[in-house]
C-alpha cells in the first residue's frame, strides 16, 4: 500500500495501562494526541503515516512529468488539479504525524536521506500518456482499497486525514479511468498504448498491498491497534475482483494467463507479483528510485532560500511591529 512493510514496534509499557488502552480501542474509542499511548503505537504510527505522506509527495513526480504534455487543455487542467490534491494529501498526513511528536522537517529529512520509505509503485516510470490514465485507474484505485477502511483507524488525527483524502480520491480514480477509456475506445495505436500501460502497471499495482500474508509478520499487533484494518492479501483480492471487470469493459486484457473466476470462492484466482522484484525496488533498485530521491532533494535544496527568506521577512515584520508598540 502507500505504507508497505510497516514493522510494529515492540512495546514495553505497564501491562495495566496497555490493557486499558487496548480496551479503549476495542470499544471503538478514538485515541487523541494528548492521550496516553504505548510507545510502540506512537512509533509505528509515525512510521506508517510518515511513509504514507512521503508516498503522496513522491507520487506527484510520475504524474507531474506529464502536465506540460497532456493531450488537451482540459486534461492538463484535470491532471494539475489531481497533482495539487496529492500535495494536499501529503500535508494532511504530515499534519497527523506531527501530532505524535515528530516535526515536519524531521520527516522530510528522513525521506531525503533514505531513512524513511515511500510506496514502491512510485519507482516505476510513466512513459506515455496512457500511463497517466492507468496510474489514476490502478494506483489510485489500489490506494482507495486501503484508505477507505483506514477512515475507521483508532488514531483520531489519522482517521480525520483519511476522511478528507477519501473524499478527493474518487475524483483521482475516475479521471484516470476516463482518460484510459478514451484511449481504449480510440484508434488501434491508442488501444495498443492502453494495453501496454496495463501490462506494465498491473503487477506493480498488486505489489502496493505489500507481501503475502504468510510473509507479512508484523501485522497482528497493528491490526489489534486498528492502525491496519485488513490483511495485505484481503485487500489485494478485493482490488483484483473490482478491477478485472473494469478492464473487461475497456476491452483490455489483464496480463495474467492464469487469471480466472473461481466460482467456489466467489473471487478471481490470480498470479502473485514477482516478490523478488518488489524487494529489489524497496532496496532502492527499482527503475526510478534514484531519480525520485534526487528530484525531492533538488526541490528541497533549491527551495531553501524561499523558506529562509519568507521566515526572515516575517521575523523582521514582527520585530518592527513590536518596536512600534
Amino acid at each position: 500500500m502507500y505504507a508497505q512493510m510497516i514493522k510494529s514496534e515492540a512495546t514495553q509499557d505497564d501491562p495495566e495501562q496497555l490493557a486499558a488502552f487496548q480496551a479503549r480501542i476495542d470499544a471503538g474509542e478514538k485515541i487523541e494526541p494528548k492521550d496516553w499511548m504505548p510507545e510502540g503505537y506512537r512509533k509505528t504510527l509515525i512510521r506508517q503515516i510518515g511513509q504514507h505522506a512521503h508516498s503522496e509527495i513522491v507520487g506527484q513526480l510520475p504524474e507531474g512529468n506529464w502536465i506540460t504534455r497532456a493531450p488537451t487543455l482540459e486534461r492538463k487542467a484535470i491532471l494539475l488539479a489531481k497533482v495539487q490534491d496529492e500535495a494536499g494529501h501529503g500535508l494532511y498526513l504530515y499534519g497527523a504525524a506531527e501530532t505524535l511528536g515528530v516535526s515536519r522537517d524531521e520527516l522530510t529529512e528522513m525521506l531525503l536521506d533514505g531513512r524513511m520509505k515511500y510506496s514502491s509503485i512510485f519507482n516505476y516510470p510513466t512513459l506515455n500518456w496512457a500511463d497517466i490514465g492507468a496510474v489514476g485507474w490502478l494506483v489510485d484505485g489500489a490506494a482507495i482499497m486501503n484508505q477507505v477502511p483506514l477512515q475507521r483507524t483508532s488514531y483520531g488525527p489519522y482517521s480525520r486525514a483519511m476522511i478528507r483524502i477519501c473524499k478527493e480520491e474518487s475524483f483521482h480514480q475516475r479521471q484516470g479511468y476516463d482518460a484510459i477509456r478514451r484511449m481504449a475506445e480510440g484508434s488501434d495505436a491508442q488501444k495498443k498504448m492502453a494495453q501496454d500501460a496495463l501490462n506494465r502497471l498491473w503487477y506493480p499495482s498488486l505489489m502496493m498491498f505489500g507481501p503475502s500474508d504468510k510473509d507479512s509478520v508484523h501485522s497482528a499487533q497493528s491490526m489489534a491497534w486498528k492502525i491496519k484494518m485488513n490483511t495485505n492479501d484481503e485487500l489485494r483480492q478485493k482490488f483484483v475482483d473490482q478491477t478485472v471487470p473494469q478492464a473487461e469493459y475497456l476491452g483490455l486484457t489483464v496480463p495474467d494467463p492464469d487469471l480466472k473466476w473461481n466460482e467456489a470462492r466467489g473471487h478471481y484466482d490470480f498470479t502473485d507479483p514477482d516478490w523478488t522484484e518488489f524487494y529489489e525496488v524497496l532496496k532502492g533498485n527499482g527503475p526510478c528510485n534514484t531519480d525520485r530521491l534526487a528530484a525531492r532533494n533538488k526541490a528541497w535544496d533549491e527551495g531553501a532560500w524561499v523558506r529562509d527568506g519568507l521566515l526572515a521577512h516575517a521575523r523582521k515584520r514582527t520585530a518592527r511591529k513590536m518596536a512600534a508598540e
Partner: protein
C-alpha cells in the same frame, strides 16, 4: 537557529451562519501566508466562506487526565436535560 516555519491550526466556516470548525494544520512563516496556504489546501472544493488561522503554540487545551473532574459532574445532573420532565400529552408540544 532552526528555520522550520511555525505550525498553524486552521478553522473554516463551511457556510454562512455556521461556526468555524477545525479542519487541520499547516506550516507558514506568518499569518498572511497561513491564510493563503489554507485557502489552497482546505478550500479547493467550496469547503468554506471564511478562514481563521491560529498559531498552534497559542492554543491552550484541557488535559485528557482532567476528563473525570471536568465532565463527570454534569452526568449526575440529569435534570439539566429537558427529557427529565414529563409533560402530559394534553399540554401539547413544549
Amino acid at each position: 537557529m532552526k528555520n522550520e516555519w511555525p505550525l498553524w491550526e486552521v478553522f473554516i466556516r463551511g457556510q454562512h451562519g455556521l461556526s468555524h470548525r477545525h479542519v487541520g494544520s499547516l506550516h507558514a512563516p506568518d499569518a498572511e501566508m497561513a491564510i493563503k496556504n489554507a485557502r489552497d489546501v482546505y478550500t479547493r472544493r467550496n469547503e468554506g466562506v471564511s478562514i481563521w488561522v491560529v498559531e498552534a503554540n497559542q492554543i491552550s487545551a484541557s488535559s485528557p487526565s482532567d476528563k473525570g473532574p471536568l465532565y463527570e459532574p454534569s452526568e449526575s445532573k440529569v435534570y439539566r436535560h429537558p427529557t427529565f420532565f414529563d409533560i402530559p400529552d394534553e399540554v401539547g408540544a413544549m
